[in-house]
Symmetry: D3
Subunit: 160 residues, 6 copies
């Protein structure tokens, strides 16, 4: 079965770029992260760490296409205080995904549908759609997410 | 001396598989981690990180034999909400280890004995043995661990 | 001297409201935090913690006026999965603050100026002003912050 | 409306007991937490912190009935390396809660139902029930939790 | 038994002073912590948190005598960027403690001995003594700590 | 432009060595980190993680020259409780850097000046210089850092 499952994964190669930063005003990360996504980052994480002299530091880690590596490095050097960074290639497995739309009591929501083999389906309602509806209808966001998830699950069952 | 020491390490190759997860109910990690160990994970860590929109996310990282990579990926895709993961090979150094048994005031405990060169010996009392004795005898667990450690150190000195 | 300094602090009383949350989709915190600020929170922190069964949980903590306590509680109960929260009064000391404007090479920035005694002055350039200028002029945000800080320090020296 | 809502909260007083621990083998926390819950703790969190000399320490924090304070303190002093702890009273607000049972495709699950005012209902499927079903039926735990949640929501709608 | 145990605790009252800081160069904490201890802090923790706009912030928390509160506040306002802080009283329980000296293979070490009731004794070898010996004798620090602990335990048994 | 910028980076290869540690007294990390830097580590981070049984563990990660790998491994095996570690090569990009001296109101400070392309210059005042002046002159450390930064920026502008 594993062999069959594996066929449903998409594979490519990314680069993981990281810097340990212990001397940057934390306000700035908001902007750094935005700039990194604009420059082609696929994912950015800020991990709290402890560095030299017990400093409450941050390791910033970026996943990106190998072709974006130079620009990502340029953003990190320009926008943060780091004077060094490291990178290494990583293999990437992704589930095939498609966008569907479902109706909730409060309006339409896009849902990302990802399949890994016969019976594993991950349903990810679009956060921004749900948040907008929650704000417009003064309803708890978790209810909108829950209902979008339920609607997508039901539609999925009917389709199969 | 370093050369001599190096000879006492065992070396092999593992794969490090990781996913950044920002949309999973934290309750589920307990089960995910169990399933990963059952599927051949050698080690699993959950690292708190900050992702997009300031989300308090988790990077789950798994060390495993390269041959277990497909199954580990299948568990991550099935049991978590992630729709992508990454991996890269890592070299592994291990101390040779053997299990000894020692007697504490409260009963017998297994101790993992690992050597790195002439004078470096790491003694790791089996946690579950110590915990069982602590519960049976209503004694503080740290005392049992301490005594098992001391007994193993003494036995080691006598052996040498 | 301490007595003199103390006179420069403003004092009031706040309430600190907290909940330990181990079963909420982390996506939702972005919205929870926004709603809490709209409801009168003075400060909100998300602290990564470990809860029962090793769950990577979050303690959400809110500082608010005592009069806002009921509404803050209502938001936490509505928007998160928590079914319990706790609170206790805290005394608050604040520096007197005023807003000044300074000119940088890229434009005008507001700076919060806070004094604690004779020689301690904290200068906090408005983050959003600096970020806007950084974006408009394609310059690193940390340079704008640095220059706003320097301009405010210089103006302060001239004023004194 | 807030007044009406407030009437649905249950209120009592707890004590929050905490210790900063920077010299304890992390293995032991598993046992400490179990012993604390057995001794009447309502909630226990382990928060990673940085202490003197940059140590990666832990603040252990316990919520308990005031009457359990002495025993909680005794467990902390016996099972951890701490030689001091602190506590302060906190007020507690809780949602009224009841247990319902719902049927999923894989079996029956208990669900904690909590109400905060007219329209806010929190549904918390019992984790251990869901985990047992997931294991017995070789299905992803998150699907069982999702279906239990959906079944409880539907039943709730029918009841109202 | 709990009553008897309780008699062995020393009790006093401290104040817990805290500030959430999201705009300070992390390098500076090393100095802030030193200055706080010099000013009478009994304990200082830096806890990684997430604040507004997803900033990787720090909550600095200080335990101190109530009489030191003004000076602690003055240090926080002078040395950090915070313009507000909060505090509340906490009750403190401490174990009675005394310093003993023990001999290890590498030299003499002071050990803090704390008792909580009949059978609970916490032994804390002085870190700086052990570290000095480890450096002088080129031996692993954990071995010195382990041996100091074992020597203190043995002496304790002989004394009783 | 990116091509031009890239020419200003220095490139080399390092090795990243890591161990997940869940059974070590946190006091010891201070010494471990010192020993690692003495043995050639370029950077060391301690990252709080959650391991098996919910343990509040630490991933220690070391960046080093490939030629220092054996000695770094020997220190980790000698000074920590780990019995296994992993490593993988990483590429490194560094900004060219030089040390300049600037005068502040309180004395001379070295500043590391790093350039990435035409207009991006990172100025890093030497922490230890600034801390010494702050202590000698009883002035807030952040003021010394700020003034050293400002003096370096001004000197830079004059040089260009």
């Amino acid at each position: 079965m594993v062999g069959e499952r594996a066929q449903t994964y998409e594979a490519d190669e990314l680069v993981e770029i990281a810097a340990n930063i212990d001397d940057l005003n934390p306000q700035i990360y908001d902007h750094v992260v935005e700039r990194l996504f604009e420059t082609g980052a696929r994912d950015v994480t800020l991990t709290p760490t402890i560095m030299k002299k017990g400093r409450p530091a941050v390791t910033i880690s970026v996943l990106a296409e190998p072709s974006a590596r130079e620009q990502i490095a340029a953003v990190l050097f320009a926008e943060t205080s780091t004077i060094g960074l490291r990178y290494h290639p990583v293999a990437r497995l992704k589930l095939a995904r498609e966008i569907k739309e479902v109706d909730t009591r409060w309006g339409r929501v896009r849902v990302k549908v990802s399949r890994a083999g016969d019976d594993t389906v991950t349903l990810s309602p679009e956060y921004d759609d749900c948040k907008r509806l929650a704000r417009e209808h003064h309803v708890a966001l978790r209810l909108v997410l829950e209902q979008a998830q339920a609607a997508a699950r039901q539609q999925l069952t009917c389709d199969d």
